[in-house]
Structures are given as structure tokens and as C-alpha cells.
């Protein structure tokens, strides 16, 4: 036997071999990690960043005046802050004339979405959201934007709370909706068209 073989007696083929049971142990520990993660989410009292607090509905948050309704022409948007200075939101008057407001944080990785005239666009990873309910219609986001409930009082648009998350339809169904979303939005849920 040569000198180096006696110094390093481990066979490379044996060294890289992992048994089924070792692999299964790894998978079992990964499974346990997922369980621990779910347990952490359960035990955590504070909502995760970007998640609405339990019980947040329209009427439970202090109302914020955004702008005069007449100042926003169809197709225009305006940025505002809602709960605090970090809670950036976007108010849009759709081409059909309805008012919609959403949190600006993209539900993918939190970049600020912007209004491109037809849809809300996240420029970071080219994700798009339809304007009627905030559902993702293109790109990596899979969850809808957080909606803001609006009211018009004496000609002023007020943000009055968080809308409940809408039930998710199929993405392809939503992709076909933007054309009809505007017309539907004129009699929209916020009652501020």
C-alpha cells in the first residue's frame, strides 16, 4: 500500500454514500422543522408583517382624509398613508370612475406597487394586480393586495378601515376580468363612485 493510502484510508465512494435511513432521518427532521414553524405561527400573538390584525374591519380604524373626490380624475392615482407613516397606500380612480384604495406593499416581496393606468404594477418582479379587488393577475404574487375601505363624506374621500381579504378566484379567471372590472367597480363596495 502506498504511503498516502495508509494515511487516508477512507474510500471516496464510501465517503459520499448515504444510506436510506440517513436520508429518511434528514427528511423527518425537516418535517419536524415545519411543525415547529406552524407552532411558532400559532404561538405568535402579533400578526406577521403585512398581515392584517384580527378584527380589523371597516369602522374600527381611525378615518383618514385622503383628498377631495373631485381632485381625482378617472385613471389618476394618489398616494397616502393610513395607520402610520409606514403604512403607505394608493388611491385610484378607475377609468370607470370608481374609487379603490390598496396598501402599496406587494404581497410578493413588499415592493411598492404603482398604478399604470389599467392595473396596479409591482416594478420589482413585474407583478400585476387587477384594480377591482386587488387580485394578482400576472407575475409572482399569489395573494391579493390589502384593500382599504373608503367613504366619501362632503366631497372628501376618507380611508376608514381595512377590507376583508376577498375569496380568491382562479388566477386565469381573474386575468380575463380586468375589462369588466371597471364597469362593475362603478357600483363598487366602497360606495364612493
Amino acid at each position: 500500500m502506498t504511503h498516502w493510502k495508509s494515511s487516508f484510508p477512507v474510500d471516496l465512494a464510501d465517503e459520499s454514500r448515504h444510506s436510506r435511513r440517513e436520508f429518511a432521518r434528514f427528511l423527518a427532521l425537516v418535517s419536524t422543522g415545519f411543525t415547529a414553524g406552524i407552532g411558532y405561527l400559532w404561538a405568535r400573538r402579533r400578526p406577521l408583517e403585512g398581515a392584517p390584525e384580527a378584527g380589523d374591519q371597516a369602522g374600527h380604524a381611525p378615518a383618514v382624509a385622503v383628498c377631495a373626490a373631485a381632485d381625482l380624475a378617472p385613471g389618476q392615482s394618489r398616494l397616502f398613508t393610513f395607520r402610520d407613516a409606514q403604512d403607505k397606500c394608493i388611491l385610484v380612480r378607475t377609468p370607470a370612475g370608481a374609487l379603490r384604495a390598496y396598501r402599496q406593499a406587494c404581497t410578493h416581496l413588499g415592493c411598492a406597487v404603482r398604478w399604470d393606468g389599467a392595473r396596479l404594477e409591482c416594478p420589482c418582479h413585474v407583478g400585476f394586480f387587477e384594480i377591482d379587488q386587488g387580485f394578482p393577475v400576472q407575475g409572482p404574487p399569489t395573494r391579493p393586495l390589502g384593500g382599504i375601505a373608503l367613504e366619501v363624506r362632503d366631497g372628501m374621500v376618507w380611508a376608514v378601515g381595512d377590507l376583508p381579504k376577498p375569496t380568491a378566484p382562479g388566477r386565469q379567471a381573474m386575468a380575463a376580468r380586468p375589462a369588466e372590472a371597471g364597469a362593475e367597480g362603478a357600483a363598487g363596495k366602497c360606495g364612493c363612485a
Binding site: 436510506r20 435511513r21 427528511l27 423527518a28 418535517s31 406577521l48 403585512g50 398581515a51 390584525e53
Partner: protein, 69 residues
């Protein structure tokens, strides 16, 4: 290698463990999405299911002697 008991799992046990890990991944992703949507009612049930699956996977991987060939 006399005296060294080489342990090998059956293929079925290994496939089951892989399946459990895949279910756990799907479960965690679903639960995380729900929590981010402000929906926490799934958490107790999901945790219970996940814990049961983990116990089964751990038993198969560490304890089940009759799976060795």
C-alpha cells in the same frame, strides 16, 4: 463487518417519508399564506396534523426496527 448491523429501510417506508415531507411543505405554505391573509383558524388543526405526521416520520426514520433489511 461482523457485528455491524447495516440498516436499510424498505422502499415503501422511504417513499412514505418523502411523501410526509412533501405534505408538510404544502401544509406550511398553506398555513403561512392564510396567516398572512389574517386567517388564523387553520392553525390549531394544521399544527395537530403536522405534529402527527412528524411523529410518524421520526418513528420511521429512527425507531422502526422491522423496516431494516
Amino acid at each position: 463487518m461482523k457485528g455491524h448491523r447495516r440498516t436499510q429501510m424498505t422502499g415503501a417506508a422511504l417513499v412514505f417519508t418523502v411523501l410526509v415531507a412533501a405534505i408538510q411543505l404544502y401544509l406550511f405554505e398553506t398555513v403561512l399564506g392564510s396567516v398572512l391573509d389574517g386567517e388564523r383558524r387553520l392553525l390549531p388543526g394544521a399544527f395537530a396534523v403536522s405534529a402527527i405526521l412528524s411523529v410518524v416520520a421520526l418513528y420511521l426514520a429512527f425507531k422502526a426496527p422491522n423496516l431494516d433489511r
